[in-house]
Structures are given as C-alpha cells and as structure tokens.
C-alpha cells in the first residue's frame, strides 16, 4: 500500500518536473530569440546622440551660423480638449490663453493632426511639462530638435543661405555644402532601470557632427559692404546692388554683399517675393558696359602693338557701323593716347582696339578672364553669365563686345577678372571656404592669362582712370588705387529698346603697386547721370576699399591729404562713361530723349544685329591739335615720399622705380606733359 502511494507520488513529481522542464526548454531554447527580444525592449532603451549641424565662422573665427538643441511642445489638436489644452499650456508656457485657444481650435477644424504649440521652450517650462507628464498627462509631447541660428541677422545672408524646418539647407552655402554641414546622429543602447534611467551603454554608434566651416568672409568688411551697398541703392533709387571684395593673390572673397537682403532666421512665408533672397553678386548676370574694356585693352596690349601712348582715333565720338551709329559719351574726342581713351571710357577707342584684336582673339581673352564660365564657388544657382559662341557673333558683335555689350557677367566674375590684372596676370579662382573643421583648404593653382608687363600696364591704365578719368570719385586718401567705371543701359526685352536705367558699376583695386584688395560694386537700375558707375558705384568702392585696407592693415603708399585734383574730373559729364551706342533706326525715340551730354543710345539685340549690312567705318574728320598739358616738375634729389607728395599735389601720375633719392626722370624737368602721360622717376641709394 505504502509502495503504491510512493510510486504515485513519484509519478506526480516526475510529471511536475517534466512540465517544468518542457517549459524551460520552450522558454530558453525554442522561443529564446523572441523572449530575449521582449526582455531587451523592456530593459534596454535606445538613445539618439544628437549630431549638431556644422557651425559657420568668418575668417577670424566669429560665428555666422550655429545650431542649438531646442525643445518644442507638440499636440494633436484633434485629440485634445481645446479649453483644457489652451488653459494648461497657456499657463505653463506663458502664452496668451485666448490666442492659443483660437490657434488650437483652427487647427482642429482644419483637421490638422500636428501643431507646434511653442518652439524653444525654456528649461523651467520643460521641467514643468515633464512633471506634468509623470503625473499621467499624455496628450502633449516634447519634441527635441536642432534649430539654426544666425546671430548677425541679415549679415552675409546671401552667402550663408538658410535652412528649412528640418534643418536642410535651402539656399547659400547651407545648401551648397549641405552634405558636409549636416551631421549624422549616433545611437546608444542603454540598460535602463524601472525609472527609465540609463545604466550602461551596450552598443554605440558614434555621432558624426557636421563639418564646421570657416569662410573667407570677414564679418567687419561684410557689414561695411552691406551697409554701403544698401545706402547706395537707396540713394540712387536703384533696384538692386552687389559688392564683392576679394584678395587678388589668394582669391579669398572677403565680402559678398547683395541688396535687397533678408533675415535667414525668419523662414520664408508662402507667397513671399524671392527677390531679396537672390544673390545679385553671383546669380544675376548683367551687361557690364565699360568695365569690360579692361578685357579689350588687355587683349590689345597682349596681341597687338598697342601701348598706352599709342594714338587712337576716336572719330570725334561718333562711329558708323552699317546701320548702327555708336556715340561716345564725350563728343569731340579725336586722336588721343590709348591711356586717355581708356581713362575717359571712349567707346570708339575701345572698338578701335577691338578691331585690332579681332574676333577670335577677343573671344579667347573673354574665356581666359573666366567670362561665360562658373567660378566654382560652393553656392547654388551660380550664373555663368553669357558669352556667345564665336559662330553666333554678328557683324557688329566685336564692336559691342569691345565696349561691354552682347555679353553678360556677374559681379564675382568681374572681381575675378580685376584680380587677374591686380595679381600680375595670374587668374586665381575665387575661394569662399578657408577651413573645413581645422583643416585649411588648399588654393587652386593660379593660371597665367596675361604677361606680367601687360598686367602692370593695365594697372597703370586703371590708376589713370581714378587719377584723371571717370573714376575720380574712387580716389582714396593715403592709398593709390586703380579701377574702371561702367554704365550700361538696361535692355527692355518687352519693348526691345534700351531703357534709361543703367547698370552702374566700378571695379578696382588698391594699392596700385602691390594690390591687396579688389573691390567690385554694381548697382542695377539706376537713373540719370547720377546713376553712372563713376557717380554711383565709385563712392561705394572708395568707402569699402578704405575699410578693407584698414582691416587688412595695409601700409599707406601716399600722403594722407588728397591733392588738388587738377586733372581730376571737374563736372558730372567727366564721369560719364556710358558704354552704349545707339541704333538710329530702331531707337530714334531714345535718341530724341537723350541728354546732350550723353549722346549714346542702344544697339539692337544680337539677333537683329546679326542680320545687319556689312560693317563700314566712316573715315574720321581731321584731328584737332594736341592739347598742351602741364610742365614736368624737377624731382631730382627728392625722396620718394616727397616726389609722390608733390606729384599728387599737382595731380600728376608718377611711376617710381627703385629706392632712395630721385636721380633720373623721364620726361625731363620742364617738358610739357601730355594728358594721361606718366613721369617715370628712377631712385638710387
């Protein structure tokens, strides 16, 4: 009996043990994966390690754009009690209760399932809401996100660009270098306790923060450039304007300003105009007008026997090319030195040089200077400008191109071209990014596009523009400067006529002997003579360049006091460098309306000109006698400083050579000095 009972008991125990064993096998072996996964989901939590978007700094390390983590309060308007939500959140988030009520109600009525109640809540607000959550209030959520800040507001807005709500770049360098700036968030798998506090990291995918960029932009210069271009646009009733400041030796863009501007901190509203967000220095090409004559004369010096003193027949300021008549802004100019024609921006003179150069060579030099090609800055929406292929050139295209028509360029391209002249004939690609994290960017190899002697000649020519020509308002105190003005009428495609609005521009550099900075100023849509480049853009050049030289601590090369401008433009007409010619039959109305002082009108568009009759240059009337200039002073025995001071006081242009005391000079003392002629002085120790 007892044995039987024991047997039964043993069987029961065996069955019980077997059942346990079966379940153990099921739990530990058969369903191991599933249960391990469930356990992990309870015991572990995955925490995302934020990877902030790369910051952007100016060349001195001052922040221009940076990202900060922010906490936002989000609700589903369709799943909340509007009254309770507006009461509670209004109180905790310090929001107006009635406004919040309306906001949530409207969102609920429009069936929006997501509403950001407040962005960037404070730490106190966050703690309060967190406390509320622990008490079981679940109808709101706290979203963590990164937010982009531009501490200087509108400063360098067109260079920096902006980001959207998801922090993706949508303009400027934010878009151009999106892949580098954007960080890749990491992940940590943590064992968590019952309070969901992390204990120890299990697996880590390290966060990869975005690359921090140091731009070549100088914040102080950028500010001055933006302030001055805004003032110039406003004062000349222009539509827009842009300034580019560049170092000629490295290609560093020190400032790139465009006006109108915008604040990248403020997201673009639906239906908002795109115009303020356009980078006029980079994305908007325009007909350059006379500033383009730098290319024409450079090609002339390189490929023909043209020299600054070579006489050029300006035909009294009128030139007939088939049905087209081209006028100079200064009538009555006959045979003058090339330097004079350049300084006074004679269209006829430039055309004569262009004819000497010829179409293929001119086209080659346009390309050499980088026109018609993108500069390659890491900004989206760059315009390459427009250079027509040689086979598309019409019969008067060479004449047009020689004076800056039938070609469109951007301000950055002009800066690149001016830098090539300032840099001794070496074309340096503009550069906007100085460092990626702490790694300095390498420079592109400069390309020689002009002979050194040609570049030096062009520097002298451009200095003469400032000293005696149309760019007198660009003259700096304490520094020599060179440049070229440009005033191009704007073509109206609707009426197919050139209008009386202009693109006034000035491109130049300083100091002349060792240029440290290149500045290009463009104003689009100016009116009247005050809108010409010499009147509108040159003063802006002067202020911006002076600031650039001060910031760069460039030593002065001239006495501080400006000399009496004996050879400097005396009236507004002298600043007139209007670079357009007229097409009599097409634009008779324009001629009739034109001011006597600027007898210039518009050429036909390229398509019309291409079908014109063969070109015939009207022979020029006999040239008047050469005007007598001032006498050459005696510089012998004087120091360079004294020579420069005296020359500047008398408005003369001196080409110093060597160091020490002046021993030789050419022309000799007392000799009459032709307009535009320079005195070469040899110094010996």
């Amino acid at each position: 009996m007892v044995e039987r009972r024991l047997t039964v008991l043993a069987l029961i125990v065996l069955l019980w043990g077997g059942a346990i064993l079966k379940n153990l096998i099921k739990l530990q072996i058969v369903q191991h994966q599933e249960y391990a996964k469930r356990a992990r989901s309870i015991q572990e939590m995955v925490v995302e390690i934020p990877a902030p978007r790369g910051s952007i700094y100016d060349r001195e390390g001052r922040p221009l754009a940076m990202s900060l983590a922010s906490r936002n309060v989000v609700i589903n308007p369709m799943k909340v009690d509007v009254g309770v939500a507006s009461d509670l959140l209004g109180q905790l988030l310090h929001l107006d209760r009635s406004e919040l009520f309306i906001k949530i109600k409207q969102a609920a009525e429009t069936k929006r399932g997501f509403l950001v109640v407040k962005r960037q809540i404070s730490t106190d607000e966050y703690e309060n809401l967190l406390h509320l959550k622990t008490r079981g209030v679940e109808w709101f959520s706290l979203a963590h996100e990164s937010q982009r800040h531009y501490p200087n507001g509108t400063l360098a807005a067109h260079v920096l660009g902006s980001v959207d709500f998801e922090e993706h770049g949508n303009a400027g360098i934010e878009k151009g270098l999106e892949q580098e700036l954007r960080g890749v968030p990491g992940k940590i798998r943590l064992l968590a306790d019952v309070h969901r506090r992390g204990i120890s990291p299990q697996t880590t995918i390290p966060a990869k923060p975005g690359v921090s960029l140091t731009l070549t932009i100088d914040e102080r210069l950028q500010f001055v450039a933006e302030r001055e271009i805004a003032a110039a646009v406003e004062s000349h009733n222009a539509q827009s304007g842009s300034v580019v400041v560049m170092r000629p030796d490295t290609g560093d863009i020190l400032a790139m300003a465009s006006y109108p501007t915008y604040d990248p901190n403020v997201p673009m509203e639906r239906g908002e105009s795109q115009k303020p967000r356009m980078n006029h220095a980079y994305s908007v090409p325009f007909e350059p007008g006379s500033v383009y004559k730098v290319v024409t004369y450079s090609a002339g010096f390189e490929t023909t026997n043209l020299r600054p003193e070579t006489p050029i027949n300006c035909n009294g300021g009128i030139l007939r090319l088939g049905i087209r008549t081209i006028h100079d802004s200064h009538s009555g100019t006959w045979v003058v030195p090339a330097m004079y024609a350049f300084a006074h921006s004679s269209n006829i003179g430039a055309i004569q040089v262009g004819f000497k150069v010829g179409q293929p060579t001119m086209y080659d030099y346009m390309k050499r200077f980088g026109f018609g090609q993108k500069t390659g800055l890491p900004l989206p929406g760059e315009s390459p400008g427009k250079v027509y292929r040689l086979e598309k050139w019409g019969k008067t295209s060479l004449a047009s191109v020689s004076m800056g028509q039938e070609v469109s360029v951007t301000t950055v391209q002009l800066a690149q071209a001016a830098a090539a002249v300032a840099n001794g004939g070496m074309l340096v690609k503009p550069r906007l990014v100085l460092k990626r994290n702490d790694r300095t960017e390498s420079q592109a190899t400069p390309v020689r596009i002009l002979k050194p002697e040609t570049a030096i000649t062009m520097r002298r020519m451009m200095e003469d523009v400032v000293l005696t020509g149309t760019g007198s308002r660009a003259r700096l105190a304490g520094y020599s400067s060179g440049g070229k003005t440009g005033s191009a009428q704007i073509y109206d495609f609707a009426s197919k006529h050139y209008t009386h609005t202009y693109n006034g521009s000035f491109m130049g550099f300083a100091p002349v002997t060792n240029p440290q900075v290149v500045v290009v100023v463009t104003l689009n849509g100016t009116h009247g003579e005050s809108g010409f480049g010499g009147s509108s853009a040159a003063p802006t050049f002067k202020i911006v360049t002076a600031e650039a030289l001060r910031v760069g601590e460039v030593p002065k090369d001239l006495p501080e006091k400006l000399p009496t401008p004996t050879l400097v433009a005396k009236n507004a007409a002298d600043l007139n460098d209007l670079a357009l010619s007229d097409l009599e039959r097409v634009n008779e109305d324009l001629l009739a309306e034109a001011d006597e002082s600027l007898v210039a009108a518009a050429p036909a568009p390229l398509s019309a000109l291409a079908q014109g009759p063969p070109v015939a240059i009207v022979p020029a009337p006999p040239a008047p006698p050469k005007p007598q200039g001032p006498r050459v002073p005696n510089f012998r025995g004087m120091t360079m400083r004294a020579v420069l001071a005296e020359a500047a006081a008398k408005g003369l242009s001196v080409l110093p050579d060597g160091n020490g005391i002046a021993r030789l000079q050419s022309p000799p003392p007392g000799a009459p000095l032709q307009k535009g002629e320079r005195i070469r002085v040899q110094f010996v120790r």
Binding site: R197, S200, P201, G478
Partner: protein, 161 residues
C-alpha cells in the same frame, strides 16, 4: 514552548478589574504558593515546581567550538566569495549610472556653451556695435590709425593715434 503549568499560571490572573486582581492575590497567599489555579469543574490540582539550575555547568566541548569557528569561517569565505563575485557587477551598475549622468551633464553643458556662444555673437554683432558706436558718437578709425602694441592676437592692446 510553554509548559502546561506556565500556561495555567499565565491565565491565573483575570484581566478584569484591579479589585479582582487584589482578591486573587489574597486568596493565593492563603493557599499553597506553589498551587496553581484549579481548572473549572475539575478536581485536579496542579502545582508549580521550582527548579534551581544555577549550579549546573555546561561541559566543555572543544569539537563543537571548532565546528562553530569553522562555520563562521565558511560563512566569511562565502561572504567574501559572493562579494567578490557580485562586486564588479554592482560597481559596473553604479558606474553606469554615473557615466550616464555625466554624459547627460556633458551634453547639457555643451548646449549651454553653444547658447552662450550664440549670445556672445549676438552681442558682438557688427550691426549692434555700430549702433552703440553711433549712440556714443564714436567713429571708425581711419586706415593706419590703429597700432597694435602686442602683435595682433585677439584681445591684444591697440592704440589709436
């Protein structure tokens, strides 16, 4: 375990009134002091026997003492073993809490620093400085007017001529 006599002695005193307790004590004084309270409806009398064990001495047992010390030693060794086995795990857990707390603190401080950098940049923005300069009738120095006395590092002393 309580003996029957102890049980009866315990229940001898009624928990009623103090007068009742005094009466019982008086009654017990006249009776045999070792007699216990009679059971109700029973003619059975129980007496409480007093035994004096004060003269008894425990016999020395060296073996049991050794066993005792062995047990204590084993317990200590077990404790040390358990401690050494679990200590790293506990230390890891505690360190994990600290590391995580420090990580959160680091992240918070980094964010705070970035916030302060942003504030500094906003305060030093050229537009603001320009406005302040205008309000104080200050002008920008002309080129060459500023001389750096100690090179040009940030914050170096500069002199305006």
């Amino acid at each position: 375990m309580a003996t029957l006599s102890a049980f009866l002695k315990k229940n001898e005193a009624p928990a009623a009134s103090p007068q009742g307790a005094d009466a019982t004590r008086r009654m017990r004084a006249v009776r045999d002091p070792f007699q216990l309270r009679a059971l109700p409806h029973e003619h059975l009398f129980l007496y409480n026997k007093r035994i004096d064990n004060s003269r008894l001495v425990r016999e020395a047992d060296p073996k049991s003492r050794g066993a005792c010390w062995s047990a204590i030693g084993a317990a200590c060794v077990l404790g040390v073993l358990l401690t050494s086995a679990f200590a790293p795990s506990v230390a890891t857990t505690i360190a994990g809490y600290k590391v995580e707390a420090l990580r959160i603190e680091e992240r918070r401080l980094m964010e705070e620093r970035r916030g302060l950098d942003l504030q500094e940049a906003q305060l030093l923005s050229p537009a603001r400085l320009d406005l302040l300069a205008r309000q104080n009738n200050l002008v920008a120095p002309s080129p060459g007017q500023v001389s750096h006395l100690e090179g040009k590092p940030q914050g170096a002393v500069a002199m305006a001529k």
